[in-house]
Symmetry: C2
Subunit: 210 residues, 2 copies
């Protein structure tokens, strides 16, 4: 879906197809945040004042570029992960045997559908480290873009976490569901704390340096 | 820029051009959130169980579609609003007269550059009312998408507010700057409170309804 235009993707998102949905939007937000941290680094390299962080910024541009592409691929992966679930919903469930078979398919499909947003969350945590670095070492002329990256990345994490829950809550295997859910909430808490800290430091920097 | 692909737009955002930047990303987040609230309504209309809210959902789809398009246009408007500022920065400033003329141009340009993210904030508040309605009246099968819309819209508001500050803080006319800043912080607070309330209600709904 990364070859869709912004107009077409958002139009597609508006409709009644179950995907793209919140998971795809989360992945796109991840790509936007990765891009914004790369932007900060790109506005920093080559400036005399920031010669000392040149190598860090070059590495940041490389890592952010990789993450941006991975997030874009996750838009499609998230849509793919929904297919087995949609197929399982359509299975016949008249007889007891059919019901059991469908239940089994659903369970596998729900797990797969929960694992996809969990991968988005893991990438979000990875990207947050880049945003932290962009905010801390990048040029002050781009510091607001680092703050934006933090806010958008937090939204990506919150969307992804909701999309984990929406699947785990329907699973019968409480142990597996609980494990996925705990992992999701753990990463979400970490990302939220980190994002708030970055956003606040950017805000207070802007207020201080008139 | 709405005719750019997701891959191209995020690549462009990654580079060292000052626009698109945090303001454009904010507007795109607004479009994503408007699209997600339309998605909730689209998954609700035509369902017997939700016959009573049919008209509300039809209106929501219309309003969200309009806002989605307005947000997409704001990506370009935000980039346009930066041009006079870039031009003012390049003005000669050797003589006292040149300095005064440049200072005057800068002041006008900063104001215009602050007003653009303020418009994004105003649209964000408008969109938040739709997200509230989608979360409250929409089909429970899409409730997580309403939660995602709330989180992404909050990020849009936070990004836009940073982009107001980044301009007002450089203005000399403290009264005008203060007025823009107060208005921005007011709308931001409102959007954040509303978003948190919607996100929490969606989360607790999902936990409750296993």
């Amino acid at each position: 879906m990364q070859q869709m235009t912004l107009a077409d993707f958002t139009r597609e998102l508006s409709g009644n197809a179950p995907v793209p949905g919140g998971g795809g939007a989360a992945a796109l937000c991840g790509a936007l945040a990765a891009a914004l941290s790369s932007m900060v680094a790109s506005l920093t390299v080559g400036k005399k004042k920031y010669e000392a962080v040149r190598e860090d910024m070059d590495a940041l541009i490389r890592d952010a570029g990789r993450l941006r592409k991975e997030f874009l691929s996750l838009i499609d992966e998230d849509a793919e992960a929904f297919k087995p679930l949609a197929a399982a919903y359509r299975l016949p469930h008249w007889t007891e045997e059919e019901k059991a078979a469908r239940r089994n398919e659903m369970e596998q499909a729900l797990r797969r559908a929960a694992e996809s947003p969990l991968r988005i969350l893991e990438k979000t945590r990875e990207a947050m480290a880049l945003v932290r670095e962009a905010a801390g070492k990048g040029s002050v002329i781009a510091v607001s873009d680092a703050g934006c990256a933090a806010a958008i990345l937090e939204a990506a994490a919150r969307c992804a976490a909701l999309n984990v829950t929406v699947n785990t809550r329907l699973m019968e295997d409480q142990e597996t569901a609980g494990g996925l859910e705990r992992r999701s909430q753990e990463i979400l808490s970490e990302c939220q704390a980190e994002s708030e800290s970055i956003y606040l430091s950017v805000g207070s920097f802007l207020q201080r340096n008139q």
